[in-house]
Symmetry: C2
Subunit: 194 residues, 2 copies
DNA sequence: ATGTGCATGTAAATTGTTACATGATTCA
DNA sequence: TGAATCATGTAACAATTTACATGCACAT
């Protein structure tokens, strides 16, 4: 049932799932076409939420049918394009979702952590190699996120404070991982004992 | 194709996916039956990796067919039960997986962060409510993880150091989120300006 | 002319969860 | 005697990704 709804609820109206609200939120922030929404996701929330084209275009149709966005054709030359904007109902629906008192699932699937968990099956040097690998992975991520900081500051100048907060959260998260790994490596590494 | 493999590779032998290695790893750590594996997952890795019964039992069959574990019937009274242990090939396969130089995907899907990202659509007080909610969620998680610390220390006494490292990583992660939220709330909260 | 980016859309495959089906054992 | 726990297994379902299909615009 190719819906963008979560596990169908008993309720009458088909309720929207998170992917549809992502599309709605991005249109609210100024992404006009499906293509622009995809770009916006890649440039911002991809670190804690991903969404594929195959969710975006049906999502736009769903939101339009629900009256939360309106679309019109806006071809560039002979290249077809549809642009969207939120309706008043759409703005209200977005705020309703944001303030809804519902569980906010936090799902992590981390192959690195998984391997570290089982690392006692390795000898010490190999296990430490794993720890270094996940430290490096987080260090790379911190660099990637820091590179986005100027864009976040630009958004703040536009009155959008919260994307910057999610960025700081991501940086802090990975910095914490780096710190824990560094301490562990120092405690574990000496190898040549006195 | 109900396989526990990742995107089928061109290679001859069906390669095992992460869920199968989780099962193998848990058997290696002493979980003997499907039921015990499920318990072990709930008591340890569930914070960064989940797996359902419907993956465990087929996984055991797959690993047994591949010669990485051996199972035998071990009924408790009239209640049937199968217990497993790793073979030498299984231990080797586990170490091979752990040392393999391959990408270790880090996938996060966090509805809380998502809502925070779009929180500029709300008025300040409502947005802060959201920030407080994710801070509280991480505080709860830290408490849950701290409650596991004694078990991790017991595992360390048994020579299993790495489960404790993943626990410290989880705590540090959520503590970092708490800290960033706290700072943000302080900066943003005053409301009654001087 | 050719590769990259803009642009939309869907079919098929994959991956994973939920719910069901079944039944024994233990404890209150 | 009834609930909780132990124990195994699978069918049906839901959610998401990958790959395909198509074609214009623009720069080199």
């Amino acid at each position: 049932m190719r819906s963008l709804s979560p596990a169908s609820r008993p309720s009458g109206l088909a309720e929207l799932g998170a992917p549809a609200y992502v599309v709605l939120g991005m249109v609210h922030l100024g992404a006009r076409s499906g293509y622009e929404i995809k770009q916006a996701v890649e440039n911002s929330i991809r670190f804690f939420w991903t969404i594929s084209q195959a969710q975006i275009y049906p999502g736009l149709q769903l939101l339009e049918a629900a009256g939360l966005i309106t679309g019109r054709a806006d071809p560039q030359g002979r290249r077809p394009r549809r642009v969207f904007e939120t309706t008043r109902a759409g703005e209200a629906a977005l705020r309703d979702w944001l303030t809804r008192d519902e569980p906010m699932p936090f799902e992590l699937r981390d192959t690195g952590m998984l391997k570290v968990f089982f690392a006692d099956a390795l000898d010490r040097e190999q296990a430490l190699t794993l720890v270094r690998a996940i430290r490096k992975r987080s260090a790379d991520r911190v660099r990637t996120l820091r590179a986005i900081e100027p864009a976040a500051r630009a958004a703040e100048a536009d009155g959008n404070l919260y994307p910057g907060l999610t960025l700081r959260l991501g940086i802090a998260y990975h910095q914490a991982i780096i710190d824990v790994c560094t301490v562990f490596e120092r405690q574990s590494a000496p190898s040549r004992d006195g």
